[in-house]
């Protein structure tokens, strides 16, 4: 598995031309997701598959559709400094690995300090089987709030960069419906059947995250993918009519606020920020309520931001084609 990853990365250096690079990036994402499964990191694998092999190549493709797929030959003289830098950094990293606890050892400090509490007590303290969700949504919920704000920031940043003038900040583009999509009838029919299931699956992932791999982030990505698929096949104007950009932008902020205000509720109840035990008489029930609420916030914010980013890029593509 790791060797395949190395091969992909080397191919990425060798290959010139952006389309091939994007395909390789996607392969790299999928391979690392598979590697994560062998490392027992199922939640991470799920996310990496959705992001590394899904959203990220999609955005790259949209970009390349706008800026062109050609890549100029690099200057051989410019290779010396990078090679030197990479060698020094790599050597330092190798030195760093020499005193590391050996791979997979159950006695490594990372396995004996802090983490055991999550494994042994989260069952009683939080009451849900997926320990990753417990840590993510409760023990380290503040990191996750930060993560939502990161993705929200990305949405704001993309809009700031790409928003066309005179649309009140929205990445709206409303050219006439393009005719050239007609040959895709089969795809359109198939996807019409597929998309409802994707959206349904998104909801399943959203609310199943406590028991199995999944949660708000993955659900948001899947939901957004369904909408984007619709947009790719039926054209941006159609999908913009179904889900107008300003609504999505408001939802992005609302998602982040749902998360934040859940924390503020605990504050108002006299407990610390994001201490969900304040949300119900029974602490474990409180944890449940809190986790469902913040996962909902995550799902809404992530889906809305990804759709917003897609609108912004696709809008650029449209204005270019005209």
């Amino acid at each position: 598995m790791l060797c395949l990853l190395v091969a992909t990365a080397i191919a990425l250096i060798a290959v010139r031309g952006l389309l091939a690079s994007i395909m390789l990036t996607s392969v790299y994402g999928l391979l690392s997701a598979s590697f994560f499964v062998t490392m027992d990191a199922v939640d991470v694998a799920f996310t990496e598959a959705a992001v590394g092999a899904g959203v990220s190549p999609l955005l790259l493709l949209l970009t390349v559709a706008i800026v062109g797929r050609r890549e100029a030959a690099s200057n051989a003289r410019r290779l010396v400094v990078p090679l030197l830098l990479v060698t020094v950094t790599g050597a330092l990293l190798i030195i760093g690995t020499l005193d590391m606890p050996s791979f997979g050892s159950p006695d490594a400090p990372a396995q004996t300090h802090v983490a055991p509490r999550y494994l042994q007590q989260s069952g009683d303290e939080i009451g849900i089987p997926n320990v990753v969700t417990s840590v993510l949504a409760s023990y380290r919920a503040y990191d996750t709030l930060g993560e939502v704000l990161v993705i929200f920031t990305a949405g704001v940043a993309v809009l700031l960069a790409l928003a066309p003038a005179g649309q009140g900040g929205s990445a709206r583009a409303e050219p006439p419906a393009p005719e050239h999509l007609a040959p895709h009838t089969i795809l359109q029919v198939v996807s019409k059947l597929l998309i409802p299931f994707m959206l349904l699956f998104a909801f399943y992932v959203q609310f199943h995250g406590e028991y199995g791999p999944g949660g708000g982030f993955q659900a948001g990505v899947i939901f957004a993918s369904g909408i984007i698929l619709y947009g790719l096949l039926y054209g941006l104007p159609t999908v913009c009519r179904v889900i107008p950009p300003p609504v999505v932008e408001v939802l992005a902020a609302v998602g982040a606020l749902i998360y934040g205000l859940t924390g503020v509720l605990s504050l108002l109840a006299g407990k610390n920020f994001l201490d969900y035990s304040a949300l119900a008489a029974d602490p474990v029930t409180g944890q449940h309520i809190g986790i469902i609420a913040i996962e909902l916030g995550v799902g809404i914010a992530v889906a809305a931001v990804i759709i917003t980013i897609y609108y912004a890029f696709a809008g650029r593509l449209h204005t270019r084609e005209d």
Binding site: R140, G146, N272
Partner: protein, 496 residues
């Protein structure tokens, strides 16, 4: 509410940002952002007072005790940085209206303020957290917001500057992530106080060495320490004026805080000052930064760009203080951190006014500006004098403590070099005086018809900032005592 105090300076802008995005009118967004940042400042002031009275404050996020949960841990150092960042954040925002309305197109203004609040929240979050990974998350919030803000500059070169900053900043952040991963593998914890307890046992390992090296390189990229400063001049020069004021007054300061926090609290003595030639590395790089930055600033035809290079030089002074590795050196570094924020805040704010009225900040454009914009120019000059370190200004206090700290270590060459650096600063500030007051108005046509004083809102903030340079040059209690307390706290565990 008092027990929630450590959280409030960060939480207000953090949740204020998405709330601000719901506002549709830019003016409302500006008023709202001002209110949020002023409240955050009030919380930071109360927090500093509480830290003086009660010592270290700890706040368990989610109610989970550290190291299982994330902790905010506020000592004098955190409180000082929080106060500084929130004060500059609020001041810049209060004076921002005219400049933003001039430089940012209408449909982007609301989002501009949202990004500003996010950047502020990110920086404050870095300064407040006691958890290494949480620091990375907030670093990314502030960085992404910064890239977006820089890219809103009117010149297309702003886009390239923002892109370069994004690539270098992300490399820096990824290096920090690698370093944090290494220490996690060694100790099993992410909480800084817990790390400080557990690292000494494994402190001599090569993994700890590599971890520290990666964190330092990553932070120095953010700090723009020579030779990792390449992103800074472009970003500062091309960003909208208000963004430059804000970044110059806060972003590098927070990066310096991170460097100090990791060097002295987390890694302590083993891999910081005493065991490695890092002392020499920091001092040498600092001195080189001072001279390289100042020399470029002397010959630079655009004052805004010149001052950006001057920031590279000033970071050099702060790092010299860190490299001295004594309480006095650290104290000097922290005092300069505080004072430099005020100086550069004044200087870039004055330039925002100049750009607003004259359309640019080259020396050629600024000929005779002392007559058309007397108050702005006076403030600019005052900031400049403070930058040189003229007695009676805040800059003098910085230099005084730095020189004393170097003299304590009997590093006389260093003392000379620091003073020589000040002379270089005097050269480019003199050039400003010449341009502003002595040069005749070359071609009145090139200056806007009857260039006027800056608008009242901007001018008021500018005057307050300029007077702060004098105030902190005379009444030095706040920065000196807080920095002294913080430096003592940092080194108490290390020095015998």
């Amino acid at each position: 509410m008092l027990s929630q105090l450590p959280l409030l300076p960060v939480l207000l802008p953090l949740l204020g940002a998405p709330a601000c995005a719901l506002l549709r009118r830019p003016l409302a967004a500006w008023v709202f952002s001002c209110a949020v940042s002023v409240l955050a400042l009030a919380a930071a002031i109360a927090l500093l007072a509480a830290t003086w009275q009660q010592g270290v404050l700890s706040y368990a996020l989610g109610g989970w005790a550290a190291p299982w949960g994330i902790e905010y841990r506020i000592d004098l150092l955190n409180a000082l940085v929080l106060l500084l960042v929130s004060a500059m954040g609020a001041a810049v925002l209060l004076g921002a209206r005219a400049s933003v309305w001039r430089e940012i197109p209408e449909h982007k203004r609301t989002l501009f303020f949202v990004a500003y609040l996010l950047c502020l929240a990110g920086l404050l979050g870095i300064a407040a957290t006691g958890d290494a990974f949480n620091l990375f998350v907030f670093l990314e919030i502030s960085s992404l917001a910064t890239y977006a803000l820089v890219a809103t500059g009117r010149d297309r070169r702003a886009l390239v500057a923002a892109y370069n900053y994004l690539v270098m900043g992300t490399i820096g952040a990824t290096f920090i992530l690698i370093g944090i991963g290494f220490v996690y593998m060694l100790t099993g914890t992410l909480n800084m106080a817990d790390l400080a307890q557990r690292l000494p046992a494994v402190g001599q390992s090569r993994t700890a060495f590599a971890a520290y090296a990666f964190i330092v390189v990553g932070v120095c990229l953010k700090l723009a320490l020579f030779p990792l400063h390449l992103w800074l001049p472009g970003a500062y020069t091309r960003a909208p004026s208000i963004v430059t004021v804000f970044l110059a007054a806060t972003a590098t300061k927070v990066a310096l805080y991170v460097l100090i926090r990791f060097s002295f609290t987390v890694f302590q003595v083993e891999y910081s000052i005493l065991a490695l030639p890092l002392e020499t590395v920091f001092v040498v790089l600092g001195v080189v930064a001072v001279f390289a930055g100042s020399l470029v600033a002397v010959f630079e035809p655009d004052l805004k760009r010149g001052l950006a290079y001057s920031s590279v030089a000033q970071v050099g002074y702060m790092v010299i203080g860190v490299g001295l590795g004594t309480v006095a050196g650290l104290q000097a570094s922290l005092i300069h951190l505080f004072n430099h924020a005020i100086m550069k805040g004044t200087l870039f704010m004055a330039l925002a006014a100049v750009v607003l009225r004259l359309g640019g900040s080259t020396y050629a454009q600024m000929q005779g500006v002392g007559r058309s914009m007397p108050i702005t120019t006076a403030c600019l000059l005052l900031g400049g004098l403070s930058l040189i370190g003229v007695p009676g200004t805040a800059g003098f206090i910085s230099k005084w403590y730095l020189v004393t700290a170097a003299a304590d270590r009997e590093q006389w060459l260093l003392v000379l070099l620091i003073l020589a650096g000040s002379l270089l600063t005097a050269v480019y500030i003199w050039r400003l005086v010449e341009t502003a007051y002595l040069a005749p108005r070359q071609s009145p046509a090139s200056i806007a018809p009857r260039a006027l004083e800056a608008p009242a809102g901007l001018l008021a903030v500018l005057v307050v900032l300029a007077l702060a340079n004098i105030y902190f040059g005379l009444d030095t209690r706040l920065p000196v005592q807080t920095a002294g307390g913080a430096a003592n706290g940092l080194l108490a565990a290390v020095l015998p």
